[in-house]
Symmetry: C2
Subunit: 163 residues, 2 copies
């Protein structure tokens, strides 16, 4: 079962694909989608939705894990991210791909076991979870892989009836 993790952003959306077999996960691919800030908002939103769809098709993903808005952030920065989430949600739904949303805190807890880990610690745990030699780069791609790990963790808990 392949999971697509998404760390949404208007300028840069991180993505990661992992394969899960019986609770074990291995990385398949990861990267970022950039949009041109000279382009109109609607074009940037469309590009992000279409590029995510291309990745979803390429890796035959079974489900998507999208990192949701961090509500403590500024509304001016949150609104463009929310628009990107809406576009990606719409496109993935049109492809019949189930979506889970996780808050930044849920992702941090799932990956590190604590809500107080800093960015670097989260990235180091992503590296360990996925058996990688180095921390995945760029940051948004590492965050997207963390979203995948969060999905698998929650999914396993559900399977085991622990939640």
């Amino acid at each position: 079962m392949r999971i697509l993790g998404i760390d949404p952003g208007l300028a840069e959306t991180g993505w990661g694909v992992v394969e899960e077999i019986s609770g074990h996960i291995r990385p398949i691919s990861f990267g970022i989608i950039k949009t041109d800030k000279e382009d109109a908002l609607e074009k940037r939103i469309y590009t992000l939705g279409e590029d995510v769809a291309t990745i979803a098709r390429k890796y035959s993903i079974a489900a998507a894990s999208i990192e949701d808005i961090y509500f403590a952030r500024n509304i001016t920065s949150a609104v463009p991210v929310a628009k990107v989430i809406g576009a990606i949600t719409f496109k993935l739904m049109s492809m019949d791909i189930p979506i889970c949303y996780y808050s930044p805190l849920e992702v941090k807890l799932a990956v590190t076991g604590t809500g107080t880990a800093d960015k670097r610690q989260v990235q180091e745990m992503v590296r360990i979870h996925l058996g990688l030699e180095k921390i995945p780069k760029p940051d948004h791609a590492a965050d997207a892989l963390a979203d995948c790990i969060c999905f698998v963790t929650h999914n396993n808990r559900l399977t085991r009836g622990m939640k």
Copy 2:
């Protein structure tokens, strides 16, 4: 030329279609799309995007006018609206329909000529602009028609080189 106005919202999205001929406008149709609050977010977002697309096709619209987020509002209420805007934007872009976004203040100014008009005054001006006997109901549909008027006003200004 037919314009689709959109007043986006997760529980209820208002829509209105007007026809513009040489700066004169007449109403074609208007209404609201409701979503079930028992449904998952992704399903509600998908429904809104698809229903807007159905309306866009039915009335052969040439452009869309979407009311953007009011930035003074609470982030908790703004984020779901932004997600809806993202989904509708993505779907209309996939149909090659040009989109303009207007702030609530721009809409008010275009419809009433003043930024201090209240909701009722805006609705009354919508009624007069469109030559309707009564104020369009429900409120979100009237707001969507106001978005159409704003689009036409700005469009005319552009045509006349006044902006």
